[in-house]
Symmetry: C2
Subunit: 428 residues, 2 copies
């Protein structure tokens, strides 16, 4: 079983920061470092940081303020030794040469622990910060596909042995062992090579989280790890099977893509204590911006609705991102009101909430793993550090005792942790 | 006196990496960290990293391979405690929202030690990596001026007290204490605000190195620290006076801009040992790519010339960058051949080489400082770590004994080290 830690602001619960055991600032690096060290103590495969390209203090104040992912991960690389370091960097508002370079640099700094979550930016709110118009879903995914190909191509431009640094002869680089990329496509013209040698991992790990049809296609072709948004096991099994089935068509082994559904665990020493913890967290939720947050998560203007009426029929385009689809499906199954849906969104932004005793939580995770609904989990604590300590100190030891999870790191790189081979360069 | 350490690849001497005491890889973070710790032991104000947006293994192999500056500095922030951390990030091939954000993040991570060297990219070689055409000098500087204004504006969008995080009331952000920027100019439309709160330094320190007329104008208006390229003291005094004279017109105090000429020190325990060190370094230079390197540094195709003929008359446009102008002026003064000029460029890429015993080096630095040719120096060791240890262990103690340089850090932030006030937000 593989475990990732998802970091988003002060925690995944919208009001988790109000808990007495919670940190309240996600721009205080000492607190972030403490979180990373807990994850490494728990032998997690990686920590993984979400991102946004705009401030939205109205809809989700506690997620708005954050360190920039690459600087944060680089600083964490110096303060950790084994855990993988993943960040969301948009293919919509960046250029491939810079992204290839910054992840290659992180992979060198961390000695093979870098991972890139290659996303298309769903929200159009960032466009105003880049003086541009937000592209539509289809062209975002076309651009993303070309973007990922260019980045991987740039990572392959240097042979492992291109840097010679022979003092006696004065030869620093064997210029026969690197080459340009000379990419010219629909969205990008990129000459290459990078000005940094081949990565310790060959290529940093590529993560993807897209749940739409084009997102799934991109993931099947290019991702090493897929984060998914699910609310129940049958849904997770179907998604898992659908993705794994696509891999042979891309000459990829099903073992070489790791599927990690997101889960917000709320762990108590007893079932009652866990329920009380969740109830306490929910009591912190201030519904004053409920319709604003729902609008943000559903991508639809919900401000004209009544919170105490049933969730209205909303026709989402096929391309719409998975949070909205998964949440609305659950709302329909369970005849929720908008207030019920808001409570769900406030708890984990549409992700699965798993509340129980350590044994209950471990049992459920094991069941999902055994029934091939997941290769592991993207753990999204409601708040830090206590809400994460609970999981590491109470649940991880049970998974270890059952032989489901490592007692210690066995390799050095993130690819080692994930059991992924080091890819050879396509050119050398 | 203020001291910056300039880091460029394996050292500023083109073949310094061949020295037996030299590190040979600038993508090995452990070696970079060792350099930073030597600088902190020497109580330097800051380390400062150059950058390029392309690989050029032909013209300057040992400078081509490098870590990306922001990830490198962020990792160094975690491994150092006091020294300032500066990086070159181009205004030609980036967007202001991202640059404002990444330096704000570094300032938070380092607790107030970030500095941005806001350059226009002189070489057109990077354009091919961004699928674009390199803009001309004038529009690069117009863009740079607007870029710096937007970045500083973004840094001002959050009041110091905007993040409340009041557990009792549930108020996380006081939305009256931040605002959009709503910039709409010639080159950029940027809405803002950033998704990160106000920096420990208020604004990260801004460095500039432009030596052309538009570069000087930009520096006078916006820079806190200016790196200059000089070859003799009279030239340095004239540049220093010209810059300081411009400041009152921008309502700026001459004390609030620190001028640091670049110098490559070659220090021996005796004058003879120093000369022998420089001769040894020069013996490593392999002239096979001499005309290529000269072409790169002069920005002119020099490959048709004879190395053993006098430096030809070259008419540089007024806007041309200062390396070329300073080097050609020196070559004319001293009747150099192209080979002589190449030796100079190979030694320190056009910067001033100061070779001597510790006392001689300290005497010269003091003379420049006393005669107002400099507020300090941008130290460019020929190789690392030995070529820098020499300066820190032999020269710095003399400067300290003479009362010219600090014995220990007195403040916490880079602004403290430089004696610069923390700027208030223009909005709050």
């Amino acid at each position: 079983m593989h475990l990732g830690l998802f970091i988003l602001g002060t925690g995944s619960h919208v009001a988790g920061w109000r808990h007495p055991g919670a940190m309240t600032s996600f721009q205080d690096f000492n607190q972030v470092q403490e979180i990373a060290r807990i994850a490494e103590r728990g032998r997690f495969d990686l920590i993984f940081m979400g991102d946004n390209l705009y401030a939205d203090p109205g809809a989700h104040p506690s997620y708005t303020v954050r360190l920039e992912p690459m600087t944060m991960l680089a600083a964490l690389a110096a303060g950790t030794s084994r855990i993988g370091l993943g960040a969301t960097v948009s293919t919509t508002y960046n250029d491939p040469w810079s992204v290839a370079r910054v992840f290659a640099s992180l992979d060198h700094i961390s000695k093979g622990r870098a991972a890139w979550n290659a996303v298309t930016t769903a929200s159009g709110q960032g466009a105003g910060n880049f003086g541009t118009v937000h592209p539509d879903h289809a062209s975002r995914y076309e651009r993303a596909a070309e973007f990922v190909d260019v980045v991987k191509g740039l990572w392959d431009c240097w042979a492992d042995d291109a840097i010679v640094a022979d003092r006696a002869t004065g030869t620093y680089i064997d210029t026969a062992r690197l080459r340009a990329l000379d990419h010219a496509g629909t969205f990008f013209k990129v000459k290459g090579p990078l000005n940094i040698g081949r990565c310790p991992q060959g290529q940093p790990v590529v993560l993807q989280a897209g749940g739409s049809a084009p997102g799934l296609a991109l993931a099947a072709r290019t991702a090493d790890v897929v984060f998914s948004v699910v609310q129940d096991m049958d849904e997770a099994k179907a998604q898992y099977a659908a993705l794994k089935k696509r891999l042979p068509a891309h000459d990829r082994s099903p073992e070489h893509v790791t599927v990690l559904p997101g889960v917000m665990p709320v762990v108590g020493r007893t079932p009652t204590e866990a329920r009380e913890k969740l109830a306490l967290l929910q009591s912190f939720v201030n519904g004053s911006n409920a319709l604003q947050l729902l609008s943000d998560r559903l991508g639809q203007d919900m401000t004209g609705y009544d919170l105490d009426q049933p969730v209205p029929e909303i026709a989402l385009p096929d391309t719409y991102h998975s949070f909205a689809r998964v949440m609305l499906a659950k709302a329909r199954r369970e005849n929720m009101t908008l207030r019920d849906l808001y409570d769900l969104v406030a708890a984990a932004r549409g992700h699965w909430v798993l509340c129980g005793s350590p044994e209950q939580v471990a049992d459920t995770l094991q069941q999902w793993f055994d029934e091939r609904a997941a290769d592991g989990f993207n753990v999204m604590p409601p708040y830090f550090p206590e809400g994460f300590d609970d999981f590491v100190d109470l649940v991880v030891p049970i998974l270890q005792e059952r032989g489901l999870f490592r007692h210690d790191y066995e390799g050095e790189t993130l690819r080692d942790h994930l059991g992924l081979p080091r890819p050879p360069s396509r050119f050398f």
